[in-house]
Amino acid sequence: MTKLTLNMTARFVVLVLVQVLIFNHIDFMGYINPYVYVLFVLLYPANNNRTLFIFLAFLLGLCVDVFSDSGGVHAAACLTIAYIRPVFLKFSFGTVYDYQSIKFDQIDFGNKLTYFSALVFIHHLIMFSLEIFNISKIILILEKTLFSGIFTILLCLIITILFSPKRK
């Protein structure tokens, strides 16, 4: 248990720092940035205390918010995907999985892609809606959600593949 706690703390700090120091400054094509820190929420062990989990997700978002002067938009988005995550675990991995015991380094690529995409797009939609905060700019919101979402999903998949423990 302590090993897990230590592991999660390290992941939290590293993801926040990498996000605010590197990924917030990519600005591909002028405005497309990946938000890789959602990996913390995506890969958090499913069988843990849920109240603690959504609190941690909130804290994660708030840390990124403080660094990027964005009020509470990341916090709100992270909190929401953390809260609705069980639904998408069931949806992506089917009811045949007992979703209390998913090991994220042993799942199919296809399932992983659906699971990542669903949560990342919801996260980005909430985040950009709150950031832009203007219903008449709905096209801009959707555009940013789509492009940044694709970028985030790609990077998340690459990172999970690179850092997955060796199978053989």
Partner: protein, 274 residues
Amino acid sequence: MQQIINFVLRNKTFLVFLLLFGLSLFFTIQSHSYHKSKFINSSNVVTGTAYKTANGIGKYFSLGKENKALLEENRMLKSIVHNMDMDTLRLDYIDSVRLDSHFKFRTADVYKNSYSQTANYLTINKGEKDHIKIDHGVITSQGIVGIIENTSQNFSSVLSILNTRSRINAQLKKTNHIGSLVWNTESAEFAQLIDISKFAPVAIGDTIITGGQSTIFPKGILIGTINSFKIDTGGDTYIVNVKLFNDMTNIGHVYVIENLQASEIRSLQKPKDD
């Protein structure tokens, strides 16, 4: 009572979610109103130190460009100084209390800059310890950058002109028609000048400078040139697309301007506003 406690215990995850979501919405709404983003901003010790470390590594890569910009600025200042009438120059040095020296300039390094969001901020490495206060102006040698929004002991955050909340008094250089400089979030290269009277002789290529009406910037700081313009839907004013002189995506060193007469001007204007 027992039932209420049971209800809370059963739905504690949902209640925590609602509470935290409300809190983050509160922070978000607060960040959309001017001078209210007190709690969540990057001018605190933790974020300042993190950005300082990263900047310490990164700044060596742009030294060449910085040198070039400094050289260019020096050349410009030298050409002004040497083309000036020698008598006026000498007078300035003899008379220690100059009438127009009520703007104080301080230098600062930019630790963090963003331009891809709709609300962009910069973080700089000077704070209250260096006498930087809220509502000081921030410029570079090429043009304006923004206004100080929050300060801590050692760091300050700057509301960039690339922010939907930014509104800066500006005017045409050749006449005194004033307007407000805002940003429509579309490109980091362009800002928009609105509320320019339709009687103004607007022409493509004209220079836009800061107006003398604000207590933040001195009159005549460069902003940009007119790229295109059209009449507002109301029909009374122009909306002018301004190409900024500053490359807002590449800002290393800035000057912070303090107007020593700001409080005096504000106290004079106050009774009229009420």
